[in-house]
């Protein structure tokens, strides 16, 4: 996929019109905890964990558009994570490692929608 196609695709993602429900804040849907030992760097996280600790604070919570269950191409997910998109900041390889992103992009693409998510 070319870069301009990716951008078009990303731009086509509709933004949420308004909060559907009065439900903000709190921890996103449960994923296994990331165990970080004292004196050690953060271990590699699973896609579920990255989603819970980063993406899921906005997506599906009235801040960013819902991205699960929409079959977004993995390449588009990858591109948008690294470049940001309008209100979304970019995430650097030091924040979401290349290995984590390689697993995250297809996971976002293939994951089913979640009932508890809202906003779009």
């Amino acid at each position: 996929m070319t870069r301009s196609m990716l951008i078009m695709l990303a731009a086509a993602l509709p933004l949420p019109a308004m909060p559907a429900l009065a439900q903000q804040g709190g921890a996103p849907a449960v994923a296994t905890p990331v165990h970080q030992a004292l004196g050690q760097v953060l271990p590699k996280r699973s896609p579920e964990q990255v989603y819970a600790k980063v993406c899921g604070y906005c997506h599906g919570r009235n801040v960013g558009p819902i991205i699960l269950g929409r079959g977004l191409p993995a390449e588009a997910v990858h591109y948008i994570v690294r470049h940001g998109q309008n209100a979304m900041p970019a995430f650097r390889p030091t924040e979401i490692t290349p290995a984590e992103l390689d697993a995250l992009s297809p996971w976002v693409s293939q994951s089913p929608a979640r009932k508890e998510e809202h906003g779009q």
Binding site: Q24, L38, V41, L42, C58, N62, G64, A87, R92
Partner: protein
Amino acid sequence: MSLDLDRRGLLGAGLAGAASIGLGTGASAASPAPLAPGRSMADFAGAMKAFRGVVGAEWVFGDEEAVAPYDKAYIPDPAHRYKPVGAVCPQSLEEVQAIVRIANQYRQPLWTVSTGKNMGYGMTSPATPGQVVLDLKRMNRILEVDAELGTCLLEPGVTYQQLKDYLDENRIPLWIDVPTVGPIASPVGNTLDRGVGYTPYGEHFMFQCGMEVVLPSGEVMRTGMGSIKGSTAWQAFKWGYGPYLDGLFTQSNFGIVTKMGLWLMPRPPVYKPFMVRHGEMADVPRIIEAMRPLRVSNLVANCNLMMSASYQLAMFKRRNEIVPDGAPLDDASVKKAAKANGLGMWNTYFALYGTDETIAGVEPIIRASLSASGGEVLTAAEMGDNPWFHHHQTLMQGGLNLDEIGLLRWRGSGGGLAWFAPVAAARGVEAERQTALARQIVESHGFDYTAAYAIGWRDLHHIIALLFDKADAAEHARADACYKDLVVRFGAQGWASYRTGVNSMDLVARQYGEVNRRFNATLKHAIDPNGILSPGKSGII
């Protein structure tokens, strides 16, 4: 001409044309990323090669695609001046030292960030051309947590999320104190820019204790008690001996902080959040006058957020849900939308921390004075699951969310935000004048007054979110002009920013005066003769 002027005269004079020799520095024909003043392609290439030798090729970024994540910012920058030329990402103190030695050798400036989520202040964009971002996010070890003393020692890349997860998992009954964007930002980065949060530990730099710093020479210095062999008080006693040094490394470019101690608040037995709802824009002075004695006496111990209705609405709504596109955001429409969502024109959040007995003792006093100011004093009992109340209830106990990122979608496709944050003493008349002036300026440029006051112990941070659609070139240019107008016209009244973005560091530094500026420059030139650490930070070159 002074050395200072010589250095400053070089600003922006960097060479373009990195692409021409195929180094992939982020340069392209359309928008070349300039090198640092006076640096050649050979210097730059030599430094990048040497950096790779330290951290490995996979943690040095030089081509346009690889540098892209370092180039996304919310601030107005119509000429795209604040563009990094590369990035290097160490994982240890020794790697940082080696990078600093190389930077000195090649005179390659480094722009240091911890987690680099300085959103609305420039993210990871450097203040002057040709800088390589020194990205410390990979240094993210939680080194110590002392549950009895309520202290911790952290590396710069530890996010608030990591620290909170660690405390929760290990059932350590200590709280963190977050800025509103906790999950992706860091205690070290935020504290070094003297950021704020909303528990009683909200003035972050006050609760910092001990640092380890790599100096521009590559030497490592520990502040406070940290340089005493065998001391157990590095995170317990702030001042050490002689001049207090820690302040020198905040909002500055005198060193690279590689470890920081912080105090953490013990979880109180009882936490009770409140919202005070006021009905009119004109209630500003009454609210401040009522809150000040409560804050100065510490009866109310946390940093309060006094949020305008428009700021609150902008978090979860889009502008065209309130008024049609192109129409001014009038008070009547805002008031109507606020009311429909359980909000007033000003919504002030504070909390009480203690035991049932202590809270029962002070609550009536606080209620009496806030009610006398014309506010309705509300709690979870009345507000229930109101999303705004819930957001602030989360914040005032150091909880994590990113709800406020919603601000970035207020206008059009959004993505534009610059914080303008002038300080005043906590007096009603000052706030009243500031609100009037800010409204006049932003509205004259076609923007909205979406603002809050953070009521500190004796001060006000007037937090004005200049929200614009970055995809609209004309609006982007107007936002740039509006921001400068705000800085200049507030400055003329004696009000200057507590912190600012890379787009205005020089402008604000000039307001703090030439003597201060020269003093900073003298220090800078003495300790960093090659000018390699974050040139331009806080206007210091």
